[in-house]
């Protein structure tokens, strides 16, 4: 599934949260959306998910323009995972996956839940309440929920934030493996530059609501004369920054 964002603008009163951004994600590729806190990444994702109404601009999903009229239809092909949102804490992992499978109209619910349980190693805490899980376990459940409908377009907002290196690596490895075996386009917002280097085909750098640079990881490193993506990020983020 291809995603195309065209001249997207979001103003909150007089503040330009997102200012005329345009980019494309090719089918089955992963785009990294990078930028300092408050640069407009989450607002942009919110607009792509139809949660925030853009002030102007268009979002195309496989050449279909996202509109309130077709939002439900398109949402059934997408999903989203973020450590900043959670699943109902008092429901068990299995109950949560079952509820979301139904909400996404999954046909063979038990089969799909079993697949996710096996893939993400959820068996040991499947009947435990979601609120009682560790961060790493919650994160895997959240990832399972985000893949329950076999989405064609997945939005990941800092998928490995607050995870220990072992679980973080498991998640990254799983995403890579899943992508190899399934048709999936990913938009990844992350502050973990190693993760971005590993998973993304292309990077879009945002700052103060605008796109300040884009390209492949190597292109950006080379262009800014740095050794790695982290230094490149710092160079871009700190130009005119209050932390300079």
């Amino acid at each position: 599934m291809k995603l195309k964002v065209q001249n997207l603008v979001k103003k909150f009163n007089s503040i330009n949260a997102v200012n005329d951004i345009s980019f494309e994600i090719e089918k089955n590729s992963t785009l990294g959306l990078l930028g300092p806190n408050g640069c407009g990444k989450t607002t942009s994702i919110g607009m792509m998910l139809g949660l925030i109404t853009p002030t102007s601009g268009k979002i195309y999903i496989d050449d279909t323009c996202l509109k309130p009229k077709n939002r439900i239809e398109l949402l059934s092909l997408m999903n989203f995972a973020s450590p900043y949102i959670e699943l109902p804490k008092k429901l068990t992992v299995k109950q949560n996956l079952e509820v979301y499978a139904r909400l996404y109209g999954v046909v063979e619910i038990n089969k799909r839940v079993d697949e996710m349980v096996l893939d993400l190693n959820l068996k040991n805490f499947l009947h435990k309440k979601t609120g009682e899980l560790s961060s790493g376990q919650k994160n895997r459940v959240s990832l399972a929920k985000s893949l329950i409908n076999k989405p064609k377009l997945l939005f990941l907002d800092e998928p490995t934030a607050s995870l220990d290196p072992d679980v973080g690596d498991f998640v990254r490895e799983y995403i890579e493996k899943y992508k190899k075996n399934n048709e999936l386009t990913i938009l990844l917002a992350s502050h973990n530059m190693k993760e971005v280097e590993r998973l993304c085909n292309k990077i879009v750098m945002m700052k103060k609501g605008e796109i300040v640079d884009s390209g492949t990881c190597d292109q950006l490193i080379k262009k800014h004369g740095r050794q790695n993506l982290e230094d490149t990020f710092l160079k871009i983020a700190r130009s005119n920054s209050e932390f300079k």
Binding site: T42, L51, L75, E98
Partner: protein, 263 residues
């Protein structure tokens, strides 16, 4: 509307109730306390007043019906608040579920929560105070439906406020019903109110419902015109509630508050 999605959302709340004994206890506790409280108060009035013979029956029936309204509305609000408290709000609104399906799911599940609390209390009133709300007969079904529609409407208005103003609107959720209670003429006839307040009170379905309940219990007469009027007024408010909910939802999408609700 997709029934499977409505069922899924209802299931989420059924699982929540089923998995927590304190939650079930909480649902039963307050209506039962109401029955005890109003039962004893009205028994005292019976012994010390000659206004009408069946004071216990009338006041207790009013208490049960009012609690039905209260529980319907609170159940609706609670289910919505649960999504905010559990930070599940964004997950819910990015799922391919229509607003009409969310409203339908909350409306149907609210009756389930309401009945868990109210049926034991209504049954308890029979042996304890010799009062059976079922004595109202067939009109009871219509009165309950009307109360339910109005309760859900109040729930819709409060949840619209939650979407518009965020979790800080929560206190209004609890206060909303107490605000209408004096105008609803739940425990007293409408004539008690000053003339100008009577005009306002008649715009609410509550007055017609509780007047009719007293009519049936005291005079044993059913005025279906009065019941129909209550249903129509409730339905008008219900449609108004739905419109407000949609407007709040659109407003929240414009302000971008749906993505971080509960944080």
């Amino acid at each position: 509307m997709n029934l499977n999605k409505i069922f899924a959302l209802s299931l989420r709340h059924v699982y929540l109730i089923k998995g927590s004994f304190p939650r079930i206890l909480d649902l039963i506790y307050w209506p039962t306390i109401q029955i005890f409280l109003w039962g004893f108060i009205s028994k005292f009035f019976t012994l010390n007043s000659s206004y009408f013979e069946n004071t216990v029956g009338i006041i207790l029936s009013a208490a049960i019906l009012y609690d039905f309204l209260f529980r319907s509305s609170i159940s609706y609000n609670m289910m919505f608040l649960e999504e905010i408290w559990s930070r599940n709000f964004t997950n819910l609104f990015i799922a391919p579920i229509k607003i009409s399906e969310i409203i339908a799911a909350l409306t149907f599940t609210a009756i389930f929560r309401t009945l868990i609390g109210l049926v034991p209390a209504a049954l308890l009133a029979i042996p304890l105070f010799g009062v059976s709300i079922f004595k109202i007969g067939i009109p009871l079904i219509f009165l309950l439906i009307t109360l339910y529609i109005f309760g859900v409407t109040l729930g819709l208005l409060v949840t619209s406020g939650l979407i518009r103003f965020g979790p800080s609107f929560e206190n209004i959720a609890w206060a909303s019903l107490f605000f209408l209670a004096p105008l609803g003429c739940i425990y007293y006839p409408i004539e008690i109110l000053p003339d100008w307040l009577q005009i306002i009170a008649k715009l609410l379905p509550l007055v017609h419902i509780f007047e009719e309940m007293r009519n049936v219990l005291i005079h044993d007469i059913v005025d279906y015109y009065q019941i129909l009027k209550a249903i129509i007024i409730s339905f008008i408010y219900f449609v108004f509630g739905i419109i407000i909910f949609y407007l709040s939802y659109d407003g929240a999408k414009n302000r971008g508050t749906l993505i971080n609700m509960g944080e």
